[in-house]
Amino acid sequence: MTLVMEGRSEGAMREAGYRYVGHSPDRQEALEKVTGRARYVHDMELPGMLYAKMLHSPYAHAEILSLDVSEAKALPGVKAVLTGRELPYLLGLYMVDKPILAQHKVRYQGEPVAAVAAVDTRTAAKALSLIKVEYQPLPAVLSVEEALTGGVLVHEDINTLDYVKGVFFPQPNSNIASWHKTIKGDIQKGFAQAELTIENEWRLPQVAHVPLETHVVIVQADPYSPKVKIWSSSQSPFAVRNLLAKAFGISRGDITVVVPYIGGGFGGKAGIHLEPLGVVLSRVCQGRPVKIQATREEEFNQLPTREGLRGRVKTGVTKDGKIVAEEIYFDWDGGAYADYSVNVGRAAGYAGAGPYEIPNIELHSRTLYTNKVFGTAYRGFGHLETHWVIERQMDLAAQALEMDPYEFRMKNLLREGATTITGEKITAHSGCVDQCLEAVAKEIAWTGYQSAAEREKAFKTGKVRGKGLAVLHKAPAMPPNTSTSAIMQMDEDGTVRLLLGAIDMGQGAYTTMAQIAAEVLDMPLEKVKVIWENDTDKNPYDWQTVASKYTFMGGNAVIRCAQDLLRQMKEVAACVLRCPVDELTHGNERIRHIQHQDKAIAFKDLALGYAYQNGTGIGGPLIGRGVYMAEGLTNLDPATGQGLPALDWTYGAHGAEIEIDVETGEIHVLKIASAFDVGQVINRKLAVGQVVGGVIQGLGSALIEGYKYSPEGRLLNPSFTDNKIPTAKDIPDRVVPIFIENPQRDGPFGARGVGEHPMISVPSVLANAVYDALGVNFYELPLSPERIVSGLARQKE
């Protein structure tokens, strides 16, 4: 049996004419990774290095009455003990709300209150045990409901916190870190037109990213100057540099961030996490390097997670199945600090209604502070969550209309000429979500829901099957003026070295960029080398490696970079060959005349500048540059959320077929077919890898994963023993990736991003299939066997 089909493409096979684009070369770094020679920060040690450990709050919310570190400090081998008292800094991407170590009070169980740097981990652990902390527990805010009442404030100082004004909207004297509104049309008029309204509430818990390499940094801070060097398992070296500079009031030029191989990120290593603590510890230790490696437990209960969500939706439809009005409240369980979750809330504001045309809408997305582990970006940036709400709601609307959910979706999907809920016009080149839906429906042989009689018959056998559909869309969630850059240099043998700002954390960014460079330069891929180990002192700028934006933005920058290199080569070649530049072309590693093909110069002879036979030289070493800045995007109107937030929309759809054991509640997934309009596949093998890996991550969120808390707010499952992720035995019989290729005019070779999309809507498609199988609707994740069984029991009553 073949587990995965080769990702097949539907639509034009334009890559036939390409030398590398659309093909499947091996990833550039594969050799290092299969031989164990790839070095991660996890593996690094520096001379004189110290090891740091953190002491965590046992309470979800408490006043720190006293903190005595004297015994810990006196322990031989301890080089520094720090508490929040010595660190009057607040950090934050959007809301500046997070101390490096808790100051005065703790806001979640697991929050670090003190840190020790010592000569080895054993001494550091011993020192922690000598620290005495007295807490006065406070009532904790542990749900969105409690957060909304505002009876207890997680941030008592919310009114005075600094934040990015005009983009985020914290509400005074509340737990609302930001309230984003999207208002389009006239919702009252819309609901008046509706012949049927469907109203539901949906939920999902926090879920951990689970990179196999936990968060880890090594920091060396010069005690005599502001200079800092950081090695970090990070997706965002330039963002780390920027945020550190802001927090400590030092120059970007004084900060170096180096990222070698990184053992998984999934959004959890975007932004800034352990770096600031490393800086202050290293400073106190006279500049000795300090390593902080999160334990697996800290990865779960100290470092950030995906937000939980309660979504309430009211949808108004006409009897023939047109959506005329929708009111949505997304209430995000953002945890103790805002981090990325206010921006997740904003992304939900413009994408949270799904890929549908909705003439009248009011969408409220509120990111709430609670006394839980704080939320951050996680692959899909809010879209798995919002699509759990919307793609279940669409099925329930179809059920209410007694309409095939395929037909219902087809009537309402965004298509050429439609406008999004923020007023963006969809064009012929925006991609086609209807084609994605059609492809997956065909792949799973969708024929509509089974009848109640069919269900009942199957139920008696103990095993019932069901099919489901769901669609999705996502655009990169980023500032409208996000940019990236690339530098290319040629060596004297014609090898090209490509320097990028992005991080390749396994998604294959460097391999696809090499393919694009080799394609434009029309030269062997083996001779294009992307320089591994990103160093902010040496590599050109990139915002951060998040948002599925890099194939698009990096690809465009690399195309321009390669063109710049070609232009430089042609200028010199034109002199040497004595012809106008515009009569030159390139191919086969040569610049040659368009007509007189024997008039040619090899790339390598131009690499360091051209040398005539008599020794005279012209030109010089070739250095190409290419930049790309997002074009035509705007901020969103603070009152209505209207504007242009999307660089490119990647549309997709899943179709699923499942079998449920009605006694145990276990769901066996037979097949998931997943189609995405990626515009143009750059590397087929890597694209299939993103789809298959993403679908399984989505399956984890759907069936298995989620944080569980005690009534006091203690995380009950901070280990792999009780925080399970899918294993090789938990995967569907088949996953079928399908690529639709309607090119994006301004994408590199027509490509769009697809890194995050595969996990979006996986929970909804499985729950839709569960409904088909059982005739029971589920409103909360995960769809654990226990939940299925109790749902069935409730239905019987």
Binding site: T664, E666, N717, D722, K724, P726, T727, D730, S784, P785
Partner: protein, 285 residues
Amino acid sequence: MDSDFLYIKPPSLSDLLNHLESWGEKSKVLAGGTDLLVLLRRHDLSPSYVVDIKGIEELQRLEEVEGGDIFLGAGLTVNEAAHSGLVQKRYKALADAANKLASYQLRNRATVVGNICNASPGADLAGPLLVFDAKVQIVSTQGKREVLLQDFFTGVKKTILRPQELLYGLTLPAVTAGERSIYLKLARIKGHDLGIVGVAGRLDSRKKFHLAMSSVAPTPLRLTRLEALLNGSSRSAELPDQAAEAVQEEIRPISDVRASAAYRQHMAGVLVKRVVQYLVQEGGE
């Protein structure tokens, strides 16, 4: 490890027992280490001595002894038991459970006896060993004693084993041809996971039922009342359903992070039903 301890690997049983005798609670026996090393790492245990039993040849045995009984030594790994032809042929429920315990590489280290000594309420191997009426052989410098496995467990993670004693091995009484046995386990995922509920069942050649469960009481539990009920009933098509209902009275599952008591209760019924169904099926597998 964050704990400080001395590692000792005695070459003979008498050396080992002498160590245990003199160090008592300060020592901890190391067999597979898959539980012990986690505790040492977390600093949950701080023994002064870790005494490795793997240097003692006689503890590695899996063999038929007099009367057709089987002896499983304390050093025997879960995979060695699972792959043993003797176990597969005669004690299928034990092989089932061994193959469902943790992950393949853990089973290469974890020992059968260690799973018992750890005395987790969810111990996968306890149920099958209980239905085969396993006996545990306990040795110390004072001599040897043998007790029924069902008398070995005294509470959550508690047993009758004293710090001076070693659980030397297990004896599985001989089985006769025509027996059937099975172990069914429900976990949260299909891969490496602890059981939410486990049911072991055996129908011996005299057509008597032997049933035991894990994760539904403070210790692995022999379902004596259910056995009596089934053994006293005439064989009918309703038997599995009756068993599913009757088992509810005999178990006291708790709610925890892995499952609610209600779901454990429900699943106990489902799995007991399936076990009984399998056992009474004619014609074998």
